[in-house]
Amino acid sequence: MTLLELKNIVLQQGTFRLQVPHLKLRAGRLYALKGQNGSGKSTLLRLLALLQMPQSGEVYFAEQPTFSAGGRFRRLRQQITLVEQSPLLFAGSVEKNLAFGLKLRGFSGREMAERIGEALEIVGLGGFQQRSTRELSGGESRRVALARALCLRPQLLLLDEPTANLDAAQVEALESFLTGLPEQGMTVVIATHDVAQPQRIDGERIELIDGHVSQVRSDTILSGCPAQGPDEPLVAGGAASLRI
């Protein structure tokens, strides 16, 4: 099933122009977004999170247009969560940060506490509930931001360089957790500069070169994994550049 589809997107931002003739994200897949500094990864992720509007083109969520059908944004946004490249934590306790999104979704106190505890365990911060966000190390902050997104269990999880400040053990733990998400039906997009990461997480590649998106068949397809058979051409628009 197609979860998100971008068509003929042009997003101008200063002198930078993001162009996405066509991009398709399917439900229950894991995507690795690659590209040099300034190639537009974060911009694309903000677009996918419906935070930034394109000058032209349309984004379809579950085959419904989004930007042109104003007003339904918020409900859509509750199914898409982005962890930004330098995430901001709200002032206060770690618990409050994680509770923010859960409260908006109407969870009860017990459910919240449960989900918060689980999410913190995943990022290796069990017991950090009462810590103030002002007194965390760089890696701990990033992990709190990750947990804050994970506990919402969105349909589409967008991660902008999630492992940039994590230590080796945490990277490994997170990667193994993330690779399990597609099975649960979640779609994950990870922007990364770690050249080996896409392979480790077995992700389909999306490559950005100077604002031009090209979607590349994943290595797993090339190596013939039956679960992800090529039911339609994946490469769409622009010159497809195959890199690892």
Binding site: R46, L51, I80, T81, E84, P87, F90, F100, R148, L152
Partner: protein
Amino acid sequence: MGYLGDSFITAIELILGFDREVQMTVWTSLYTSGCATVIAALLGIPIGLWLGLSRFRGRRLLITLLNTLMALPTVVVGLVLFGLFSRQGPLGPLGLLFTPLAMIAGQTVLATPIIANLVLAAVSGADRRIISTALTLGASHLQAARQLLREIRFGVMAAVIAGFGRVIAEVGVAMMLGGNIRNSTRTMTTAIALETSKGEFAFGLALGLVLLGVALLVNLGLNIVQQR
């Protein structure tokens, strides 16, 4: 001058003596300024948020106008509202003139631009990621704005306190719209003005000290609320 010392003693006497009339004046001051500050906050905070978060043509001009409104003299507000509330004015039939309600209206006009401006300043200085973070966590724009307010609460509190300070200390509106009627619309400041015009400097100053004491208590209270 002798009266500086005298006034201290008088102030303490006034407070300890629980003078009925002084209590009444303190209450009128607190009541009108309190109501005006609350209404002004309910108006000014959304205005400040809106101006701080939106981008449109003419926004800078609007901000400059709002800045200018901070220089609104109390007498001007008094005159304009007097024109509205007076028997011959459009709102005359309501009979609001020389009642606490008229004073609240005037003080609200004074405090709203102050609160709006200072909230705007706080929003402008805030991290831009607060809103987008709240949005990606599933908040509506309104909920995101509320979270922003929570993050900049120190600035918002300063704005409200500045607005409160302005209205509890002001005398022009209270005088013109309230009328400084004994046991009815006499506030601390109009009482001070009256005593001063009588030449009762020590008594006037004593009332001033009582007023500052009351303001201190209010601020201590807000402080405790804020630290909760």
